[in-house]
Amino acid sequence: MAKEYETVIGLEVHVELATKTKIFCGCSTAFGAEPNTQTCPVCTGMPGSLPVLNRQVLEYAISVGLATNCDITRYAKFDRKNYFYPDNPQNYQISQLYLPICKNGGVEIETEAGGVKTVGIHEIHMEEDAGKLIHDEWEDCSLVDYNRSGVPLIEIVSEPDMRSAEEVIAYLEKLRLIIQYLGASDCKLQEGSMRADVNLSVREAGATEFGTRTEMKNLNSFKAISRAIAGETERQIDLIESGEKVVQETRRWDDAKGESYAMRSKEDAQDYRYFPDPDLVPIAVSDEMIAQIKARQPEFRTEKMKRYKEEFGIPDYDIEIITASKHMADIFEAATAICGQPKKVSNWLMVETLRLMKEKEVDVEDLRFSPENLAKLIALTDAKAINSSVAKEVFEVMFEENVDPEKYVEEKGLKTVNDEGALRKTVEEVIAANPQSVEDYHNGKEKAIGFLVGQTMKAMKGKADPALVNRMLKELL
C-alpha cells in the first residue's frame, strides 16, 4: 500500500515597497525607465559612496509588521550579505540577518475545510533589490541595468506552517491585501513587485521531524506557484520512494516546461559571510515612533466592510467582493464620491466587471478603467443618453482601454435618438412591415409587442430608448 505524505511549506515573500526613492539613495524607483538612467554612485557600487537609509522604508516595514502581528525590534541593524553576481554592484547586498526589524508575527487564513488557521511569520527584514540582467543573444553575453538596484524590499519569512498550494495562495492573498491596504506596495506578481520563494519538504503523514527542504525560485504567478508546489512535491516523493535522498538546494522553476532544475555551481559557496554593515548606524525604534505609525495605519478591510454597510447600504455579498481588493475598493469609493450612487457603482463592479475579468483573464489589480469614467457612464445611462445594452458595449471598451465614455459615445454616434418624429416614422414602418404581429397583438397576444420593439431597435441600430418605443407602439396600435 502506498504511503501517505504530507507537504510542508514555508514562504519567503519579497515585496517592493512603494517609496518614491531607493532604500539608500535619492534615485527614483519609477518602473520602466531607460536602462541605467535612474542610478547614482551609491546604487551602482562606485568606490567611496555610502548608503543612508530612507525613513519611509523603515516606516513601511514597521507598518507591515504591526499589521501582521509582529514584535517590532527596538534595536535593529543592517548586515552585509556577501556574494558575487553582476546584478549586485557592490557584490554584497545590504540586508538584515542578526537583528531584523520585525519578528514573531502571523496572519490568519481560511482553510478549504472552512476553518481558520494561523500562518506564523518568523521575521520581516529590510533589504535592497538587485539590478536586472538581460541576455544578449547576438553577442552571447549579458547586459546589466542598475535601475532596480537599491529599490527597497521587505522580505517576509513565514514559518513552515502551510500544507497545500491552496493554503499558500490564501496566505499570499492575505499578505497582498494587508500590504495593499497599507499602501506599502502594489504587490504585482507579474511585474515582480511581489515575489515568492517556496521552501518545501515532504514527510510521511504523522511524522514529527521535517524532511529535507528545497527552495524554489522564479515563481511569477499564483498558477505557477501551484504548479511548482505540485511538481516539487511529486519530485521529492519520487526520490524518497526510489530510496534516494532529497538534496537541500535552490531550484529554479521553469513554468513553461513545468519542471525545475538545481541552481548549483562550484563557484557558488552559499556562504554569505554576514556581518553588521559599518556604513549604516543602528536603528532604535521608540514607543513614539510605533505610536505614530499606528495612528497613521489606514482603514483595514473589516473596518471598511462595516463602513460600507452603514454608509452605502449595499448587499453584504457585494461588500465582500469589493473590499477583497484595495484596488477595487478604491474604484468603488472614488466613483461613488463622484456620482453619489453606490448601488449603481457596485452593480457595475459585481456584474460586468467580474464577467469581463473572468472572460478576459484579467487580475483585479490590473483593472484599467478609471472611477471618473465609470461615474460618467452611470451619468449617461441616468440621463437616458444611452440605453443599457449600449452602456454594456461602452463599458467593455472602457475595460480594455479606459476610454472616456462621453467622447466615445459621441464619436461612435451611439446616443439614443430622442427625436420622437424620427422614431415615430420608424415605428410606423415596422408596423407596416409586420402585419402578422400586429394582428397577433390585436388578438391579445401581448408578447407580439416584444417582437415589434426588437424590430424597431434593430432598425434604429440600438440607439433608442426601448421603453419609449414600447409606449409609442402601443399608442399607434
Binding site: T21, P86, E139, D140, S142, V144, P276, P282, A284
Partner: protein, 97 residues
C-alpha cells in the same frame, strides 16, 4: 597550537574572495594565513564572557534621509569607466546557460 591551513581551505577562500592563486601563491597564502591566525588566537586568552560585540564605536542611531528624489540621469558618467558597455548597459560574460 599552530593553525594548519589545508589546500581545501585555501581553495574555498579563493571561491569566496574570487581570487585565483598559483601553486606557489597558495603555499605562501597557507603559511601567511596560518601565522596570522596563530597571532589572532592570542585573543582567546581574554575572557569576553558577557561582553557585547561592539560593531559601532559611538551610539549614533537613526540617521535617515527623506523619501524625495534628488538624483537625475547620469548614465553617461556611470558608464564612462566601464571596461565594456552596450546599449547603455554594462557588458558581462553570459550569466545563465
Amino acid at each position: 597550537m599552530a593553525n594548519i591551513i589545508s589546500d581545501e581551505t585555501i581553495e574555498y577562500v579563493g571561491i569566496l574572495a574570487k581570487l585565483e592563486l598559483s601553486d606557489a601563491e597558495k603555499e605562501q597564502a597557507k603559511s601567511d594565513m596560518g601565522k596570522m591566525l596563530d597571532y589572532i588566537d592570542k585573543l582567546g586568552e581574554l575572557d569576553t564572557e558577557g561582553v557585547e560585540p561592539m560593531s559601532h564605536v559611538f551610539p549614533v542611531q537613526n540617521v535617515f534621509r527623506e523619501d524625495t528624489v534628488t538624483n537625475g540621469d547620469t548614465r553617461e558618467e556611470l558608464l564612462a569607466n566601464a571596461p565594456e558597455q552596450k546599449d547603455g548597459m554594462f557588458v558581462v560574460p553570459k550569466t545563465f546557460a
